[in-house]
Every structure is written in C-alpha cells, then in structure tokens.
Amino acid sequence: MTLYHFGNCVALLMPYYFTYKYSGLSEYGAFWKCVQAGCIYIFTQLCKMLVLATFFYSDTSSNSGEFNFFTEILRCSVDVADLLGFALILSRIPGKGHSKLITAGLGWATAEVILSRGIMLWVGARGTEFSWIYIQKCLESNVLLVQHLTTATLIWLFTRHDLNKALKPLVSILLAVTVFKGVWLEGMLHILSIGAWSAIAIKALVAAVIGFCSLHIYAGLAQQIGI
C-alpha cells in the first residue's frame, strides 16, 4: 500500500532480531555464523531445485490452486534435503551449547525470509493495492522461525549417540512429522477449507506443540551432558 505499510510488515519480522539479541548470540558475535548458515541454506535450496527440475514432472498449469496429494508427497520427499542441510550446518559451524542450535535455526530461517519473502514484500506491500496476504506471510514467518529452531534441535538430537535409546523413535517421528508437514497439515487445511487467519493459528499451534516436545527432550539431554 505505502512504504509505511511495508514498514509494518517488516516490523512483524522483529522476533528474528529479538531471538538474535536476547538469546545471547549477539554476545558471542555469532553474526557471521548466522550468515554462513544462511549460505548453506542457499546451497541446499539450489541442490533441491536442481533435483526437482531434473527428476520431477512439474505440472503447475493444470492443477493451479488444487491440492495434489501425490505431488506434495514427492515435493516433501525432496525436503529431506533440508534436514541434510541442517546436519551440514550443525557439523560445520562450531558453536557451544544452545547457541549452536539457535545459530543454525536462526540463520536458516532468516535466509529463507529474505529470499522467499523479501521480493514479495518489497514489491507487493509497497504497492498501491492493499492485501492482507503480506501481514499473513510475515506472521507465518514467525511461526517458521519457531519451526526451524525446532528442526535444528531435532537434527542435533538425532545425531547424538548419547540420547536415550527410548527417545530415538520419538525424535525420528517428530522429524518425519516436521518434514512432511507440507502434506498432512496443508492437506488438512485444504480439505477443511480453513481460512487464511485460522490456518496461521493452526500452524502456530502445531509448531508450538512440536517445539515443546523437542524442548522437553533437549532439556533432558542437555542436563545429562551438562550444557
């Protein structure tokens, strides 16, 4: 609508900064680490695009707006590469304790926001036409931040050998749930034809539940190994 509206949308992305500032990352000077994590995000996305373009038949013209279950499963199976990307970040970027995970999640989420929402916000929210979609997308980015932090935690837990054996399947299930969220969550929202606002609320709820479970497991392990 106006530059002011654009400002409003960007203000909604402030939780990213809060996370950086108040989680102690700023004290470690972890800025470059976040940028590196972002670079790994870009690298992962490029690889994913290459795979998608090479091996998957994309039929975007025929089913525009329709929710195609099979296509979504295929696409989500490629999203497993995201997990590899996270694993790469966790193994490559040095860090201590909690900050390592937050660096990975925050760097990843920030890169995603800038690359996938940046142009849309700049071009759309500044334009004359008003639409709620920009505010919605920014709120959704907040949910995604939580989700990416959760994913980083889960991956870290998954790679640990000293994790309680009984918890291993739970972590794997949570990971699978996170990766295939595109199928089951979006599919459910589509079938129930839930409005955009309630969809964000449901996504936030799902992210909070998964996040809480991961936090619970993580807290236990962290206390065990003493970080």
Partner: protein, 558 residues
C-alpha cells in the same frame, strides 16, 4: 544492533556497496501490479468552429467514490450509466476529479424510457466540453462488484447513526479503492481531414443525339447527399445507415442508367462526406466552396439523407420527415417530390407516413441543424429526409445500436420508398406502378455490404463502389486551417484502468499499534524463556523417564 558494528563493518569492507548500487535502483523501480485491470474507452475530444467538445483531460489517479458519496475534486466518480442523471453529470463536470462510466450490458434489452434516458445523457455529454477526464468501460462483473462495494458501504455509513467508536472502527475497516488511468494527454492531430467523395451518372450519349436542342450541362441535376459518422461519444463507429442507403441508391439507379431506353433526362449526383452533424457538415461546406465541383447549374433539388434509420428501436411511430428551411411553394420541385413521396409511402410500405417539417435557418447560429441548410443558404432547393423530427434528437449522434436484422429491414424500406419516389419523379409515371421489382428488386444484398462501412477512406470500399457505377468520381479533403481551424481531431488511445484496493491511513496506524503489542508479547516471551526452560529441564528427565518406564512396564504387563 550497535554492538555488532564490527560484524557489519565486515560486510561493507567487501564489494557489497557496489552490489547495493546496482540492486537498489532495481528494487526501487520494481513497481508492483496486482490490481484489477480494465480496458476503458476514453471519451471523444474534438473542436468545431473554435468550440471545444468532449472530455478535455485524460489522466486519473484518484480515490474512487460512488455517485452518492463523492464531494471533492479529489474523488473520481465510478458509476453505471443508468444511474447517472443529467444533473449528476453537470455537477460531476464542474466539481469532480474524473468520471468512469460502466455501460449497460445490453442496451437493446432496456425498457423504452431507460433507453431514452441513456440517449439523452449521451447527447448531453456530447454537447458540451467536459473539463474532467471521462472514460467508458464495457459491462464487467468485476467492475460491477467494485461499484456495488463503494455504493453499499456508502449507504451503510449514511443510514445508521453510530457512536463515535464504531464510526472510527468502520473508517478503519472500510475498503477504499484507488483508480488510475494512465491516459496520455491526447495531442491534436495535425493531419485532421475530412474526406468528401462525389460522383454522378452521366446521361447516356445516344439519346442525347436525338434531342438536338439539349446540351449536356443543361440537364437538370438531382443531388443526393449523406454523411458518414466516424465517431460518437467514444472513438468508435456508429451505425451509418445513410451511407448504405446512398450506396444502394447508386446501385439500383445504375441499372436504369445503363439501358438507353430507361435513361432518365436527369443527371443524378451523389455526395458523401465524413462529417455529420457533430462536425457541422464541414464536408458539404468545403464541397460547396470548391470551384470545380459538378457543375451546380440547373439543380432540380438536393436530397440530403440524415438518420434515415434509427439505430435503436423505439416505440415511436414510423414516420419519414421531410425537413425544409422554407415552406415549398406549389409546383416547385420539392413540393412535387413531397407529394410523390407521400403517395409512394402510402402504396409501397405499410405503416409509414410522411410529414413535412419546416424550420428556418438561424443565421446567427454557427452550428447548423440539417445538412440541407448548407445548400439552402446557397439558394439551391434542398431538403433532408430523416426519421427524426427534431434536429436535436439524440438518435442522430448515438453510439448505441440495435440488432442488425431490424436495422436492415428498416433501411430496405427506406431505400425502396426513396428509389420509387425518385423514379416516379424522373419518369413522370404514376405512383402506383412499381419500378424496382423483379430483377431490380431492392434486397438485403444491396444494403448489407455497406452497412458496416466506417469511413470513406476505409479499404477504398466507398471509392470502389463510386468508381464502379459513377463518372467524375473525385475525393477531396477538407483540412483545417493552421491558424483558425474549423475543426480539430485528437489522437485518442484506449487506456487501461487500474483499480487498487486501498485502506485508509488510519488503518496502518492501527496496524502499527497491533503489531507493537504483538512484538512486546514476543519480547516478554523471550525474556521469560530461560525461566521456562529451567522449569522444563528440571521436570524433563524425571517425567520422560517416568513416562517411558511406565510405558515399558505397561508393555511388559501385556
């Protein structure tokens, strides 16, 4: 992020500033386009005799308002044609910032009084200069929806008396629309010209030899004229039935002329120009001023055709009016023709009556009412045949038209009556006899090829038709004088209308407040996260351990 200054300085040490130099302009020029886009037609703009007509400006970038809510020059009125009244139009003309009119879906289907209203409004718009930009859009569901939206929110606002708080809430949640039309200001077309085409049937040479005392030039001349309308309220082509009548008259009389036995003792001249009433019959004016036109001696009469077929059906009686500038005396050619026309119409066509109308020429008025006045002023006996009675009838300039079948039928009848009357007049035969029957019958085939003609210059259709049957065919052009142009056209380009949905500025303020509330919640949540984490971590080992121990126990029990 002041404490990260070192990190940021690292970024700017590299090549980033140069990249920014490239990307920033690109970002700034990235203009969004998510709006609904409509094709609109700009209102016509032209000058005649130094007077300006039509919409004089073209660009709009204003807030859209309905017919009932606009109040300043910063509002652009968005309305249906049927909702606008003449007084509305006058008010908009003086105060509003612009007008966008959606045409009705189907003009034919409207009731008669509504049609009259549409025609009257159209004529009203054409008769004056409108300083604000005016655009016309075809019927469109999306645009209809937008018009409904702005109309109904307005009505809600007005009717219910609300408290200040709810008013404020309403003003925050209200949907606004911003309209832009990227119309370039149309420049005067320096090449404006009005083509005029003339032609005549030369009498057959053979019978002339038998009449020793006749010379070619002294044969009496019957001149038939018509004008082609090349524009109406928008830059489109109205129905040109008069030209079709003229062309079919040429065709049917060429058959009579080609045979020696039936060649009349008259010369018949034809004149067709691209200038109708809106252009003050500039074409015939120019033609009369020329020296080398068809020798205008011994003129029997000049027959002008004007709106011989009404393009929109109306429940008016089917009358053919013969307009003259002074009442014809007995035994003059015009009164003779009038009598013949009356009796022919009575015999050959059902329910068509002929009436004479007399209107004096107002010499003080620069604008003439009828084409025959141009000839009458030069003392040629002239009259106009028309289906409309009043010179100010909106049918003469309307853009709206009926279905083809009805028009064709009416036009054929008109051609039939005129042709029979002319034949009776020239051969001095009884009105009961039918000349154009059998082989020479007048049918759709005579009319249809010329009904869609748009201009004399278009595809040379008219020129070819003239040259096929007539002699002395000549096209002359009337060009406006460079200093004092009699008429001027403007280049009109159909523009695009963009309608953006916008929110009032106060809405953004509210949004800012809501967002800051949300952010402070997030801030607090992050501040209290360590406490939360502490609670979780103390509970976690025990509870998870307990949970799994319990579940394993449960499994064992099973």
């Amino acid at each position: 992020m002041l404490n990260d200054a070192d990190n940021f300085a690292d970024i700017f040490r590299g090549g980033l500033p140069y990249y920014l130099l490239i990307t920033l302009p690109i970002l700034i020029f990235c203009s969004p386009c998510l709006a609904s886009e409509f094709q609109v037609m700009s209102m016509i703009k032209f000058d005649v005799n130094g007077e300006h007509f039509g919409s004089r400006s073209s660009a709009i970038s204003l807030e859209a308002k309905s017919l009932y809510t606009w109040n300043t020059g910063r509002h652009c009125v968005l309305a249906r044609l049927l909702d606008i009244s003449v007084s509305d139009l006058n008010e908009i003309r003086q105060k509003a910032g612009g007008l966008i009119v959606m045409l009705p879906k189907d003009v034919q289907a409207l009731a008669d009084d509504v049609k009259d209203h549409v025609l009257m409004l159209e004529q009203q718009m054409l008769q004056q200069s409108i300083p604000v930009p005016v655009y016309f859009a075809h019927f469109n569901k999306e645009l209809e929806h937008i018009i409904n939206d702005i109309t109904y929110t307005a009505i809600d606002n007005d009717t219910k008396n609300k408290t200040a708080a709810s008013q404020l809430l309403l003003s925050v949640s209200a949907n606004g629309y911003h309209v832009t039309v990227d119309g370039q200001n149309s420049a005067a077309n320096k090449n404006s010209k009005v083509p005029v085409i003339q032609g005549e049937f030369l009498p057959n040479q053979l019978p002339l030899k038998h009449m020793e005392n006749t010379v070619e030039g002294s044969l009496p001349l019957i001149l038939i004229t018509a004008s082609l309308k090349t524009f109406g309220i928008i830059n489109d082509y109205p129905l040109n039935a008069d030209a079709a009548v003229l062309m079919s008259l040429i065709e049917v009389f060429s058959k009579l002329h080609s045979m020696i036995s039936t060649a009349p003792k008259y010369r018949i001249g034809f004149l067709l120009s691209d200038s109708g009433m809106l252009l003050n019959f500039q074409g015939s004016k120019k033609w009369l001023e020329m020296d080398d036109n068809m020798s205008l001696q011994n003129v029997e009469f000049v027959l002008c055709l004007d709106t011989i077929t009404q393009s929109l059906t109306n429940n008016q009686p089917n009358v053919l009016y013969l307009h003259v500038s002074k009442p014809p005396k007995e035994k003059t050619s015009i009164s003779q023709f009038f009598k013949l026309l009356k009796s022919v119409a009575g015999h050959h066509a059902e329910n068509i009556t002929v009436e004479g109308v007399h209107k004096k020429i107002n010499l003080a008025d620069l604008k003439l009412s009828w084409e025959h006045e141009r000839f009458s002023m030069k003392r040629y006996p002239a009259f106009t045949l028309s289906s409309v009675k009043a010179p100010g009838s909106p049918f003469r300039t309307t853009m709206f038209r009926d279905n083809e079948a009805h028009i064709v039928q009416q036009t054929i009848t008109a051609v039939k009556i005129i042709a029979e009357t002319l034949a009776c007049y020239m051969y001095k035969i009884d009105t009961l006899s039918e000349v154009f029957s059998g082989d020479a019958v007048i049918s759709e085939a005579n009319i249809l090829p010329y009904l869609g003609v748009k201009s004399i210059l278009q595809n040379n259709d008219i020129k070819d038709g003239f040259e096929k049957y007539l002699k002395n065919v000549k096209i002359i052009y009337d060009k406006p004088d460079a200093r004092e142009p009699d008429f001027m056209f403007y280049n009109g380009i159909d523009a695009k209308l963009n309608v953006y949905r916008v929110k009032p500025a106060i809405f953004d303020l509210f949004l800012t407040i809501a967002i800051s509330l949300y952010l402070s919640t997030v801030y607090l949540a992050i501040q209290f996260f360590p406490n939360f984490y502490g609670v979780v971590s103390t509970n976690s080992n025990d509870s998870i351990g307990n949970f799994f121990r319990n579940s394993q126990n449960a499994l064992k029990r099973k």
